[in-house]
Structures are given as C-alpha cells and as structure tokens.
C-alpha cells in the first residue's frame, strides 16, 4: 500500500504505476459533468487547480443549522462521461490526478502521459467507506449547479484508490477490455 500526501508533487505522481493501491491524504475537489462542461465552455475554475486532484463525485451533503456541511455519502461517479474534457483540464489547469470509477479512454490516457497525471479508481458504490475518509468540508464553489454537481473542497485522510491509468501510457481498463473481448469471441 502506497501513500500520497498533500501537497501533491509531480514526482510522486510519476512514481505511481497501474495496479498500485494508494491511500490519499489531503485536499480533493469534486467536479463532475456540469463542472467539466462549464470549464470546457470557457469559464475559468473558481479555484486554482494546479497540482490538485479532481474527484468525480456528487456527494450527499446536508447543510447543518449553523451553516456547516456534513457529507452523508460520497462515492465516485462514472468517469467516462468526462472523456471529451478531462485532457483539457490537465493541459490548461495543471491538475495532477483524477479520481473516479469505470476508467477513462484514450484521450485521457494521452493527457495523463502528456501532462504527468494519473487516473485513480475509487470503489464505486462504496459511499460510506469513502465518506468516512472525509475529515472536513472546507468550501463549496459553483453551488448554482446543484449540490451533486457543485465543486466541494474536501480534506480526506487515507482515501483508498487503485491506480488504473498511469502517466506512462498504461491503462488497466484497456488491458482488461482487450482480454475480455478476446475471451468473448471464443465463448460465443
């Protein structure tokens, strides 16, 4: 089990390889469909994303009476929908990684290689295990997109992920799909 601690550094990211199990501690910014579309349409992100990690997640967040927030559930959402946009966010805003589920395609894989990023797979549906790792909700941006689509700034501790796409052109998703498609041919 490897550890990735904040502030995240490029050299730590380049060290990560497909198949590594990693515990992340530090800051994460949620961002999913509407955030990516808005950035793609030309709006600047409301926070500096340089050397940060984007988490594809639409959490269940309850606003307490004192104005503070409480995360009730926070697993990853399917990442492939951001496939058209993610490489641009890597290029334009200097993120170091993306957490999601289901993997991403060739554009993102090339983006990871070109800009030194990794794709980290959290366990889909494990909203409670992952919410437990969130130690605080520090801020929220673009709230007008609705709670699941807003950018939530979170501090996490030992947040578990598996590296499934690394900065060196390797993708577990590509590998598994090639194998399963080959196996399927023989089973039909």
């Amino acid at each position: 089990m490897k550890k990735l601690n904040y502030p995240f550094k490029k050299e730590d990211i380049l060290d990560l390889k497909v198949g590594d199990m990693v515990l992340i501690s530090g800051k994460l910014f949620t961002g999913r469909d509407a955030v990516h579309k808005r950035i793609h349409d030309g709006q600047k992100p409301p926070v500096n994303l340089e050397n940060q990690i984007i988490y594809h997640c639409g959490p269940v967040v309850i606003e307490n009476k004192d104005g503070s927030y409480e995360v009730k559930a926070a697993g990853p959402t399917t990442s492939i929908r951001e496939e058209p946009y993610e490489w641009q966010v890597m290029r334009d805003y200097g993120i170091l990684g993306v957490i999601g589920k289901g993997g991403m395609g060739p554009k993102t894989l090339k983006g990871c290689q070109d800009y030194g990023c990794v794709y980290m797979h959290a366990i889909g549906g494990a909203a409670q295990v992952l919410a437990e790792k969130i130690k605080s909700v520090d801020n929220v941006y673009w709230r007008d997109l609705g709670s699941p689509e807003a950018i939530w700034e979170l501090t996490v501790e030992d947040f578990p992920v598996v590296i499934t796409m690394d900065a060196h052109g390797n993708s577990l998703h590509k590998e598994v799909e090639e194998h399963s498609s080959e196996a399927l041919k023989n089973l039909l």
Partner: protein, 328 residues
C-alpha cells in the same frame, strides 16, 4: 358594525383556544393515534430508509460468495473487501449505501377501490422528507434548465407503477437504481449481423454477453442483469427492470430461460472483467430473464444492469398503514 365584528372575532379566538386545550388534555391521557395518512407516510419513509441503507439478504449472500472466490492480495479482492465494509457501515450508520440514490421506482399492488391519486401525494411527501434527512440525494434534474432543486419531485420522479390485485392488502416495492448502472443498460434489435445474433435463444445469449463486455466495470460490477426478450422498446425496458424484483436465488419457471440465466452468469464470469473492471473472477452476480410477446417485425432484447449496491425492498401494510412484513 365594526365593534360587533371585533367582538365576534374575539369569541371565535376564545373558542379555538378552549378546544385546543381540551384536545391536548385528551391526548395526554390516551396514547397518540396517528392518522392513516401519517402512518402511510412514515411507512414509506421507513421503506426508503431501509432500501437506501441496507442490502437485501439474498444479495448479501451472493456478494459474500463472490468475495470468497477472488484471489488474495489482488485489486479484485481489495474491491470486494471495501464493498463488504461499505455494506456494514451503511447499515450501522443508517446512511445511503451509494451517494447516487438513483431513480426512485415504486411498484404498488393494491386492492380494488384503492385511491392512487391520494397515495401518490403521500408518497411524494415521504420522498421529500427522506431527501431532507439524507436517505436520498437531491437527484432530480430538470432536463431543459439543468436545475436540481425539487427534492426528487418532477415529471417522472418518483416513478410509481400501480397494479390492482385480488388480495385485500397493499404491497409496496421500491427500487433505487443508480445512474451509473442505468447508463450501461442496452437494447438490441435482432437479427444483429455484427454479432451474428439471430432471432433465437442463441442470438439472445450473444447480445446479452456483448452488453456485459461493453459494460466492463462502468456499471459498478459485479452486477445483476434484468433482461426482457420481446415487447416493444418501452415495455421491454420496463419488464427488464421488473426482473430485478425477483430474488437472486429463485429459479425461472421456464426451463429454457432458467438454463439461459445460469449460462449467462457462468460465461460472463469467464470474461475476466471482475469487480469494478479490475480483472477477476466475478463479473456478474446474477441474471434474470423475462419474456413478452412481440410483433412479427420486432425482436428486442432489453437489458438493465443493476450495480452490486442492489437497492430494492418491499413491505406489506397492515390496515392502519403500519408496516406488516418486509418482502426481501
């Protein structure tokens, strides 16, 4: 005139006060009797809470079996362990298994003379209340404006299917189906030349396996398939979801379909897609196939994928609308 009116108002207020006091006295002496509507609302809220936070027993059993099959110290085993821990934690904390609390799909079996409109109103109130406390995520987006502020109420949300039955009791089933797994659902029209799938059970088998391979880990596998052979496009998809109300350990009454269901699970588990698409031994936990008649011109196979966070429950109600029995 004005004075008289004022006097009238005063007396009216006094009478109101008196009656409230009397009522409170009465209530404090005898136990509180909630109205049937309030009971119904709280029963539905409880159904939503349990569906969202507790995995049904039949699903839990197959998940444990799948965990035992994965090789030690692999990412597949790691994923299954986290899944198992998540199931325990969600139940203990009474919080959603998955943050995507899904499309809210009710199936209500009711006796003759049941007021569907009234039920719908109370059901909507229960959904809003369950959203406020976080059993459900605010999850209903206006498809034109992109706004998500209606606490899960809107055109098509929640979805309620009513069926009249001969029994005197009301049965409510609920499925919370997440968007990730819904997105990997598929509908095929046979024949399909690309897959060499003709209009027979072998063709059906081919397209189902193709859908499993296309889904990879994107639907939060290991998952369960609900399949419908036949019907029109709409009926086919609805029937495929209804298959997911069957218990995982049941056997299809139709021998050919029972065989197909078994075969799909066994064959899918040879594809090596594994939990989350990490590679591994369990790709599917189950497959349930239903059948509808079709037109001579059409032959649809509709496939709904349910993630491992298989959220479905059901209750029968007593006469006073309290929960009588859990169905899963």
């Amino acid at each position: 005139m004005a004075k008289k009116k004022a006097v009238k108002k005063k007396t009216a207020k006094k009478t109101v006060k008196k009656t409230t006091k009397k009522q409170t006295k009465k209530l404090s002496k005898t136990p509180v009797k909630a109205s049937p509507d309030k009971e119904l609302q709280s029963s539905i809220i409880e159904l939503i809470r349990v569906t969202s936070t507790v995995i049904p027993d039949d699903v839990q059993k197959v998940i444990l079996k799948a965990l035992a099959k994965e090789e030690k110290n692999t990412t597949a085993e790691y994923a299954m362990n986290i899944i198992q821990a998540n199931i325990k934690l969600a139940k203990m904390k009474s919080q959603p298994l998955c943050q995507d609390t899904g499309t809210i799909i009710f199936y209500v079996n009711h006796p003759v003379g049941f007021n569907q409109g009234h039920f719908t109103k109370i059901c909507q109130k229960a959904v809003v209340a369950a959203t406020k406390v976080g059993y459900l995520r605010q999850n209903s987006v206006d498809s034109l404006t992109g706004k998500n502020e209606t606490m899960n109420i809107g055109p098509g949300h929640p979805s309620i299917h009513f069926h009249e039955h001969k029994k005197k009791t009301v049965e409510i089933r609920l499925m919370l189906k997440g968007g990730g797994c819904e997105n990997v659902g598929a509908q095929y029209s046979l024949p399909n030349s690309e897959l060499g799938a003709g209009r027979d059970l072998d063709g059906v088998r081919k397209v189902i396996l193709d859908a499993v391979n296309k889904a990879q880990g994107k639907g939060c596998g290991p998952g369960v398939l609900g399949v419908c052979i036949g019907g029109d496009r709409g009926a086919g998809y609805i029937n495929s979801k209804e298959q997911l109300f069957r218990k995982l350990d049941d056997t299809n009454d139709n021998k050919d379909l029972a065989k197909l269901e078994k075969d799909i699970v066994q064959t899918s588990n040879k594809l090596g897609i594994g939990p989350m698409g990490f590679g591994g031994k369990t790709t599917l936990l189950g497959c349930k196939v239903g059948v509808l008649n079709r037109l001579p011109a059409s032959f649809y196979v509709s496939i709904s994928y349910m993630c491992w966070a298989y959220r479905r429950q059901g209750v029968t109600l007593k006469n006073d609308n309290k929960i009588n029995k859990w169905l899963y």
